[in-house]
C-alpha cells in the first residue's frame, strides 16, 4: 500500500474529509454518487486545488503536505489527469496533443508508439480533435496523459459522457492499459460496472466521507455496505481458469477457495478472470438438492444477515473458505431455513448467472 491520500476541505455548502490508501500498481476506484467529493479529491491530488488540509504521498514521494507547508504545483507533480470532457487542445493535431506532455516530461518508460498501439489511435494521429468521436477523444486524452510519464494516473469519470456503445468500446482499452503498465491509477466513477471490470481496490465515498475501503472482492461481498443493497448487488470473485471441458462445454474456474463451473471460456488455463455473482441469482439450501439443473453447489456458513425493509428482502453474507458471496432472499426463506450467523448452508449458483469479466 504505497498510495496515501488525505484531503480535508471546507467550501460553501459542505466539505469533504477523505483519506485512503491504495496499491502502488493497479486501479483504485473512488466510487460514490455525484457530489460526494470525488472530483474535489482528484483535483487536490493533481494539485489543481489546494485543500485546507492535504497529504498526498505516491510511492514514498510527498507531492503535498499542507501541514509541512509543501504543496507542489500541478505542473511539477507528474500526476496525469484524464478529464471527463477530454480537454484536447483544439488548435493541435492528435499527434501534437499526444506529444504535449511527452516533450515536457523527463525521459520515461512509456513510449509514443506503445501508447498509440495500446489505445488503437494510429489512424487518428493527423486528425483534429473536433473531428473525433467522443470515444476516440477520450482515448487520445488517456494517451496524452500517459505520455507525460506520470507516476500516478487519475481518471475523472472518463466514460461518463459517453453512451453505452462508446463505453463498451473503451473499457477493453482501459483493461489492456492496466494489464500492460505498472502504474497506479485512481479511477473516479459512479458506474458500478466500470468498477467491477477495472478496479482492484475500491473506496466507497458518500457525502464527502469514506464509507469503506479495501480490496474490491472484499468490499463487494460485505452485506452491511450500501453496495449490497443496490439492485445490482453482486460479489466479485478473483479466479483462475482451472480446466476446460469441451465436451460438456464448461470451464472450471477456481477462486475464494471454491471451484465453479461456467459456460466454456475462451481463456487459457491459468488465466486470471473475474466472476461476478449477482446476489439475487443465488439460491440457498440447507440440504443438497437432487435432479436439478444448477451446476454449482457451494458449501459455506452464514456470516451475517441484513434485512432490507423497503424491499422486504434479506441479504445473506456467506463465508466461503477464501472469501464471501452474497445472496438476496426473502425474510421468509431465512426463517424457513433457520439461517443465523454461523449456520452452515449451501449456495446454489447457476453457471449462466455468473458473469465473467476479463482478468
Amino acid at each position: 500500500m504505497t498510495l496515501r491520500i488525505e484531503v480535508r476541505h471546507r467550501f460553501a455548502g459542505g466539505g469533504i474529509d477523505i483519506a485512503f490508501e491504495g496499491p502502488s500498481s493497479g486501479v483504485t476506484a473512488l466510487f460514490g454518487p455525484s457530489g460526494a467529493g470525488k472530483s474535489t479529491t482528484l483535483a487536490a491530488i493533481a494539485g489543481l486545488l489546494r485543500p485546507d488540509h492535504g497529504r498526498i504521498v505516491v510511492d514514498g514521494v510527498t507531492l503535498g503536505d499542507t501541514a509541512a507547508g509543501i504543496w507542489l504545483a500541478p505542473e511539477r507533480r507528474r500526476v496525469g489527469l484524464v478529464f471527463q470532457d477530454a480537454r484536447l487542445f483544439p488548435h493541435m493535431s492528435v499527434a501534437t496533443n499526444l506529444r504535449y506532455g511527452l516533450r515536457r516530461a523527463p525521459p520515461g518508460p512509456i513510449g509514443f508508439d506503445d501508447v498509440v498501439d495500446l489505445l488503437g489511435i494510429a489512424g487518428l494521429l493527423a486528425r483534429r480533435p473536433h473531428t473525433l468521436s467522443g470515444g476516440e477523444r477520450q482515448r487520445v486524452a488517456i494517451g496524452r496523459a500517459l505520455l507525460a510519464q506520470p507516476r500516478l494516473l487519475l481518471l475523472d469519470e472518463p466514460l461518463a459522457s459517453l453512451d453505452a456503445g462508446r463505453k463498451a468500446e473503451i473499457l477493453p482499452y482501459l483493461a489492456r492499459l492496466k494489464a500492460s503498465l505498472r502504474l497506479p491509477m485512481i479511477y473516479v466513477t459512479h458506474a458500478l460496472d466500470e468498477v467491477m471490470r477495472l478496479a482492484d481496490a475500491i473506496v466507497l465515498v458518500a457525502d464527502g466521507a469514506v464509507v469503506a475501503s479495501g480490496a474490491l472482492s472484499e468490499i463487494t461481498a460485505r452485506g452491511d455496505l450500501p453496495l449490497a443493497h443496490r439492485d445490482d448487488a453482486a460479489a466479485l470473485l478473483l479466479c483462475r481458469v482451472a480446466a476446460h471441458d469441451a465436451a460438456r462445454m464448461l470451464t472450471r474456474i477456481e477462486g475464494a477457495g471454491v471451484s465453479l463451473l461456467v459456460p466454456l471460456l475462451d481463456l487459457p488455463v491459468g488465466a486470471a478472470c473475474r466472476a461476478r455473482i449477482p446476489a439475487r441469482e443465488v439460491i440457498l439450501a440447507s440440504r443438497a438438492p437432487e435432479a436439478i439443473s444448477v451446476q454449482n453447489v457451494i458449501a459455506g456458513t452464514v456470516r451475517r444477515i441484513d434485512v432490507e425493509p423497503v424491499r422486504h428482502a434479506a441479504v445473506v453474507e456467506i463465508a466461503l473458505p477464501g472469501g464471501d458471496i452474497l445472496a438476496r432472499v426473502t425474510p421468509d426463506a431465512v426463517a424457513r431455513l433457520r439461517l443465523a450467523p454461523g449456520a452452515p448452508l449451501l449456495a446454489l449458483v447457476k453457471s449462466t448467472s455468473i458473469e465473467m469479466l476479463a482478468g
Binding site: 505542473e75 507533480r77 496525469g80 478529464f83 488548435h91 515536457r104
Partner: protein, 238 residues
C-alpha cells in the same frame, strides 16, 4: 466605366501616394508596438484580480471616451519636449516625438489601444481555462501555457483586434493633429491630408479622391478581419 474626372476625382499624384504610404506606415507602427502591450494588459485585466483593477480598466478605456483633441493635448503634456517622459526620451535616446512620424504613431497607438485591449480581452476570456488546467497537469509552466495554449486559442480575437485597430488608425485625426501636427510627408496622414485639401481653395477634387481611398482601405480592413477570424476559428474547430 464612369468618367471619374467629370465626377470631380483626380488621379493620385506623388503627394497623395506619400500620404497613403505614410498612413499605412504610421498605422503599422502603432499596431506593431501597441498590440503586444494590449495583449499583456488584456491578460492582466482578464486573469488577475487586484486592487486598482477598475482604475486600470478605466485608464485603458479613457481614450475611447475622451475628445481626441484632449488625448492629443495630454500626450503633449507628457511626451512634449518639456513633458516628464518627453524630456527623458530626448535626453537619453535623442528621440523627439512631437511633430514627428513616430509621434503620429504614438497618438494612433494610444487612440486604438482600447479597441485592441477589448478585442484581446474578450478572446482571452473566451479561452477555456479547463484547457490550461489540462496543460498544467501535463507539465506546462505559466509562460509555457500562455504561449502554447492561451495565445493560440485567443489568436482569432487578437488578429481581429489588430486589424480593427489598424483600420481605426487609418482614420485618427484629432489626437494626431494636436500632438504631431499636419506636416506633409511626415505626419500628414490621410484624414489630415483630406482636411488640409478641404481648407485649400480648389482642393475638393483631391479631398474626394483621398476620401475614396479611405473608404476603400476601411472596407478592405473590415472584410479581411471577418474572413481571417472565420478561417482561424474554423482551424480551432469552432
Amino acid at each position: 466605366m464612369p468618367d471619374l474626372a467629370a465626377l470631380g476625382f483626380t488621379a493620385l499624384g506623388p503627394e497623395e501616394w506619400d500620404a497613403i504610404r505614410l498612413t499605412l506606415t504610421v498605422a503599422a507602427r502603432a499596431v506593431g508596438f501597441g498590440l503586444p502591450l494590449a495583449v499583456a494588459i488584456a491578460w492582466v485585466l482578464a486573469r488577475c484580480r487586484f486592487p486598482g483593477h477598475a482604475v486600470l480598466n478605466a485608464l485603458v478605456h479613457l481614450p475611447l471616451v475622451l475628445p481626441p483633441v484632449v488625448t492629443g493635448w495630454l500626450l503633449l503634456l507628457v511626451f512634449g519636449v518639456r513633458g516628464p517622459l518627453g524630456m527623458l526620451l530626448h535626453e537619453w535616446f535623442g528621440v523627439r516625438l512631437v511633430f514627428t512620424t513616430a509621434g503620429a504613431s504614438l497618438a494612433c497607438a494610444v487612440m486604438t489601444f482600447p479597441v485592441m485591449v477589448r478585442a484581446v480581452r474578450i478572446a482571452l476570456e473566451a479561452a477555456d481555462p479547463g484547457l490550461e488546467q489540462a496543460a498544467r497537469t501535463l507539465g506546462a509552466g505559466r509562460l509555457d501555457r500562455f504561449c502554447s495554449i492561451t495565445l493560440p486559442l485567443a489568436s482569432p480575437g487578437i488578429l481581429v483586434g489588430a486589424i480593427v485597430g489598424y483600420a481605426t488608425c487609418l482614420g485618427e485625426f484629432g489626437a494626431v493633429i494636436t500632438f504631431a501636427a499636419s506636416i506633409p510627408g511626415q505626419t500628414q496622414t490621410l484624414p489630415l491630408a483630406i482636411y488640409a485639401a478641404l481648407q485649400t481653395p480648389g482642393g475638393e477634387a483631391r479631398a474626394a479622391t483621398l476620401s475614396m481611398v479611405s473608404v476603400g482601405l476601411a472596407l478592405a480592413g473590415l472584410v479581411l478581419s471577418e474572413w481571417l477570424g472565420r478561417r482561424l476559428n474554423a482551424a480551432l474547430g469552432r
